[in-house]
Symmetry: C2
Subunit: 352 residues, 2 copies
């Protein structure tokens, strides 16, 4: 019997509802498998924690999390209690950075039964590999002068190493999928970093002759995801561009509430972290109607990461079946509760 | 009789076809008006010009253009002849910068008869005020080291002056429209510049108590333009964010081929420049089937800028009528030629 030790941080708002739902699904998946089990250790780090302790997590928080095989996060943030940049840089981004989770992987796909805003969404299915450690999100920069003379500077920093590992991961992912890779660029408007990004991409592509590549400017690419999302297989993008493209991915699926993400540590020194793309939605928290699908799909990504891809596939199949059946929370046009959707997913996993 | 002196740069590809079409529409509008006329002076600056002269325009190009009342541009770029960053920084961006065209204004609206990719596009109608002089498009930054040690740095630079003038213009535009203004931000992920952007916005809003404001992160905002574009009236955005949002605007209209833009000089020292959002589309150039609507709508923005708003309104009305009638080029699902669409627009302007 293999046991996976997982640190669980439900976080704020609906995180506290959807994380237990996904935990239940994971236990159900383990039951089906027979040969694995999950041991979850929960940490209450959140905006409430901040109110009590003046910090989003203890000073030795990363030390505490370090030896788990993965971190399973709900959602962070409650702007009524704590300013966003404090809550995010004090927890979410601290873990992403501290654990060298240098990539953020986010799939988007068409689901039958979801109300895509697109007239003809076709059967799109793509994955964005987002660089997650540098680029536009660097902490380098600052401000000078006050009042009418004030200037603020943000340095976007791209290293060869950071750029190359994101791209190689994306090329390899494309090889396992449909062998098409799109690089999100802006080398016609952003002078120093994006031409560099393109050069690295053009150099690396020689190593993956079986992958069909193309480079598209972020403005046009954002538009293409709305017009023809079915064209894409794997997209590799910088930190900011990946952030934008994945929210568009959520939008065209018909709900940002269902998109998952994986923050991947590549050097094996620290755990990876799995979190849905949605926020903490304080407005609907506590009502039992939060959509658990994003968190459940996130659990599937964690299983894939552990190499339990067959089990991961079962979860995704169950999710697709449940949505197609119309067992949906109100945010995606249904009347089911969080618990009902979760039950239905677990039921489907154990079926046959 | 008031005469407007306009410098015309058709540029590359389909620019050479759609600019003459829009010029024809402008002459027709003048004929209708009776009291104004246009004098156009054409400049052949383009990628072809580069091949011949090693530069996109003469060294004294800005000097030559300086005394015109406006620059009317087609499209720039032909990557088969000249690398994009050369053609753009050698002409388009040189004029935007040199003539202190510090704002870029881009409307997006629903057109009956256009095939929006949205299932239910409602009757959206918004304008993006894009900061056009600084931000992410600064020339500051560079690269160091080679090979695996290489690092590229791009400085995004936001000044109080640059930020404030874009926002005030947007507030005033909102006052003339439906009194709603959305600020595109990313203060939760981009550490130095976007919190500054938010502070300026929050300070200025006190001066415009009649405008309802909100700040939305660029990722969520990109998604909202797909999900509920009808929510928006005026959006103020940084250079890069505005670039992305306006391409999404084009996408949801059903064609990037019809979106116009105005590059506005605010200090009165230099002319403003009017150009469609679309590129030079070398693949369909020379076939007589380029869509002239973007360039014609751009002409309308130029008229508005001259204060000829009634005439501008006539052009837009004619465009809407022609599209609704189905007189459309192939890119938007019709069979009409550039000339036929142009004729129809002119005919409608002179009607009744
Ligand atoms: C060509 C490019 C530099 C330009 C920009 O990003 O500003 C274009 O995309 C635009 O929007 O006018
Ligand atoms: C909360 C914010 C900092 C974050 C990001 O931009 O990375 C979020 O939008 C995300 O995509 O996970």
């Amino acid at each position: 019997m293999k046991t996976y030790h997982i640190a669980v941080i439900p976080g704020d708002g609906i995180g506290k509802e959807v994380v237990p739902a996904a935990v239940k699904v994971l236990h159900t998946a383990a039951e089906l498998h027979g040969g694995i089990k999950f041991e979850f250790t929960e940490f209450p780090w959140s905006c409430d924690f901040y109110i009590e302790h003046g910090k989003m997590m203890p000073d030795d928080g990363l030390e505490i999390l370090k030896d788990y095989e993965a971190v399973f996060l709900g959602a962070v943030g409650n702007p009524r209690l704590v300013e966003d940049h404090v809550s995010l840089w004090g927890l979410l981004l601290k873990i992403r950075r501290g654990f060298e989770q240098v990539l953020n992987i986010r799939p988007a796909k068409y689901f039958k039964g979801l109300n895509s805003p697109l007239a003809d969404p076709k059967n799109f299915d793509f994955v964005v590999v987002r660089e997650n450690s540098e680029g536009e999100y660097s902490e380098v920069g600052g401000r000078i002068h006050k009042g009418e003379d004030e200037i603020a500077i943000q340095n976007a920093i791209f290293t060869r190493k950071g750029t190359e590992r994101a791209m190689r991961y994306a090329f390899e992912l494309a090889q396992k999928r449909n062998r098409r890779l799109t690089s999100a660029t802006k080398s016609n408007g952003i002078f120093h970093t994006m031409p560099f990004w393109d050069e690295v991409f053009n150099e690396l592509k020689a190593d993956y002759p079986d992958v069909a590549v193309n480079s598209t400017h972020i403005d046009a690419l954002s538009a293409f995801l709305v017009i023809k999302p079915e064209l894409f297989d794997v997209i590799v993008a910088s930190n900011l561009f990946g952030d934008i493209l994945t929210d568009i991915g959520g939008a065209i699926m018909g709900s940002i509430g269902i998109a998952p993400s994986a923050n991947i540590n590549l050097n094996g020194k620290y755990p990876s972290m799995f979190e849905p793309v949605h926020g903490s939605a304080p407005d609907i928290a506590g009502k039992g109607i939060a959509n658990p699908i994003g968190q459940i799909w996130t659990a599937k990504m964690m299983l894939d990461h552990f190499g339990e891809t067959e089990l991961g596939g079962k979860i995704l199949e169950a999710v697709e079946w449940v949505i197609a059946k119309g067992i949906k929370t109100p945010d995606i046009g249904g009347t089911a509760t969080t618990a009902e959707v979760t039950e239905a997913v677990c039921g489907r996993i154990l079926e046959k």
